[in-house]
Structure formats: C-alpha cells, structure tokens
Symmetry: C2
Subunit: 214 residues, 2 copies
Amino acid sequence: MTQLLKVQNFTVSSDGFGAGENQSLERPFGDADPGAMMFWAGATASWPNRTDPGGSRGLDDYLTRDFAHNIGAEIMGRNKFGPQRGPWHDHEWQGWWGDEPPFHTPVFVMTHHVRPSFALSDTTFHFVDDEPAVVLEKAREAAQGRDVRLGGGATTIRQFLDAGLVDTLHVAVAQVQIGAGTRLWNSPDELDDRFHHDIVPSPSGVTHHLFWRR
Amino acid sequence: MTQLLKVQNFTVSSDGFGAGENQSLERPFGDADPGAMMFWAGATASWPNRTDPGGSRGLDDYLTRDFAHNIGAEIMGRNKFGPQRGPWHDHEWQGWWGDEPPFHTPVFVMTHHVRPSFALSDTTFHFVDDEPAVVLEKAREAAQGRDVRLGGGATTIRQFLDAGLVDTLHVAVAQVQIGAGTRLWNSPDELDDRFHHDIVPSPSGVTHHLFWRR
C-alpha cells in the first residue's frame, strides 16, 4: 500500500504567500491577517480547531473533513511550530498548538536546532535536522502504513516539491493580497507539468486547487 | 454526539431520475446506462469498487473518499438489493453486491417481505418492514454512535426526505437524460427551503449538489 505525502487545507493569498513578513509570538501569520486567510476552514463543521457545535457541511467541509483521514504523521517547518529563530532558549515553551494539538500523531519539526522530543496529549513532537527525503522516511515509518501530511509553511512545501516528494496537494487561494512573506508560488499553474490540477471555486469565496501526480 | 443520516455519492440524471424503468437482474439501472451515470465515481482513486490501482485524486475523489468515513450502518430500498418484486422465491440469491459487498457495516433493506438476516464478509443484511423513522432508529443503534448512510434508490431517499429525517445529501447530477424511472426531484432547488445548498461543477462533467440542514 502506497503511503502518500499530502498537503491539506494549506491556504495562500491570491499573490501566492502562505504568511506575511514579521512573524512573532503574537502574529503567527506575520503581517497577514489569519482571519482573511482561514475563514473558509473555520466556518466548517469538521474544522479540527472548532470548539462549538454547528458549522457548514458543504464543499469546504469535505476538504476539512479529510484532514485526519488515514494520516499517520505530519511534517512541518520550524515556523509552524513557533516564531523563534536560531538556538532554542526556552524548552518550557512547547509551541503554538496548546495542550491538545490538532494533529493526534507524531509530528516532525524541521529545524537546524534539534531539541528533545515531547508529547502533548496524543501528539508527539520530534525535531529533526535532515534533508526532506530523510525526514519523509522517518515520518513514513512513524505513520505505520498510513499517509503523511506535509503541514507547511510555504518554504517547507517548496523544499519537498523541489525534491519531487509530494503526491497530492490541496491549496486554497483566498481573495486577499499579502505583498511579501513566504511564497508558495507565483501562480498555481507552475505545477501543471508534474501534476493533474482541478480548479474548484467555492461558494465561500476561496478557490480550491487540487493536485495529484501525473 | 449527533448521528447524522447522510446521502452520499447518489447520482441522478439531469432530468432528476436515479434509475430508469424496467429494472432487471441484468440491468440494475433499468433502461438507464449505468456507465453514463457513475463514470465520475468509477474514475476516482477512492471508489469503493475499484479493483486496479490508479485513479484521480481531484474533486470527485474527495466525494468518494468520504463514502465510509464515520459511517456505521446503511439503509437501502429493496431495489438496491435486487430486482425481485413481491415475495422472495430464492433465498440462495444474496443480492447484487457479491461476496465482498462495499458496505462493511450492517445494512437495513426496506421491504414488505422480510427474510432472515445474513452476512457476506463484514456486511450483514437485515430486512425490515417498518416506516422510515423506525428503520432509522434501528440503523442508529447498529451504527454504535457513528453516522448512517442512506443509500438509495430515489424512492427511498424521497421517503426519508418527506419524513424530515435527512441531515446531509450529496447528489451528483450527470449530463444524461433518462426520461422515465424513479425520480428524486424535478429540480435540486426544491430542497432549498429546508437545506443549505452548495452547487459545485466538477471538471469531470457532473455537478455536485451538497445539502445540509438549515
């Protein structure tokens, strides 16, 4: 059984950025407005961070509903874990994701500054300083036959795309411009030589781009 | 936790029919061409009846991928089980679905002619002569907290819609006319007074209609 590497529910601006400049503890998306990016997902019944009942069950919900489906591990860049740069100064701080992170699997954080693994609820964070192919090998082993989610940010997804390791991508394009930051692409069409590509406008206003390997 | 009653991947013609007239053992869709109805689903990687590897992983695949997600039981009309009418004459014949039916849960077949339950692999068929609300109660209990799929055909879905029991529907409209048979609707808009409604044209040529309760 193939273990896919999948990008899911990753949102970029109409000018191709996953986050703005000047990321900080208070501003995980930097100068970009997280609400303007992620509103489409937060409105769905299946959004993993939803705390109250209700939510939509239309097209956007099929995308968020698939978030954990057959996923056994996640790979993320350091900036999705936290805003710090360089050596860690505070091992007490355990990332942006709270006591009950939405991953519920092993998570591999890519960083040049490794630190000891730790668990929060049923999510375990591992810190690895390896090239993408090696990180993927570790994540696949941890996933025990299930697929691996490539969680972002844009820089991390680019690394895996450039190494030819990504099997499927779901990227939502929001109708907001950021102007500068971490870029996924200049245009979604850049991937068309290597991927099939469905373009699906959603009633919510975002456009879903669904790619799978040719 | 709410147990939803869900219609999934149900396909109708552009004139609103789920199957044509003259259903028989050889022609489960009657005078309608099953290929012209179900091609969109059969082309996806996640189609439950797929036997070879490959298949698309775009929009249509999100719909078929969701088929078994959190589903604990199915309800179907007798004509989805087999073409016979009236009393059963042959208990040896165990339905259209082969030795390895794609349901993998208890299945409740609605019929005025009950017969003993039997299992094929991990699917168990039960035969019930009850009104929709009672059948749903039995299916919910069998589903053990998970959701219940309402499998069709059109007549059965209409019964549950008319009783106000359906929570979500995914109906794919194929660009084919049947002219006569079992009708789901005259137009998808008929449900708009009771349901939110996303209309999503697929690159494959079908249009997905996604409904959830207001």
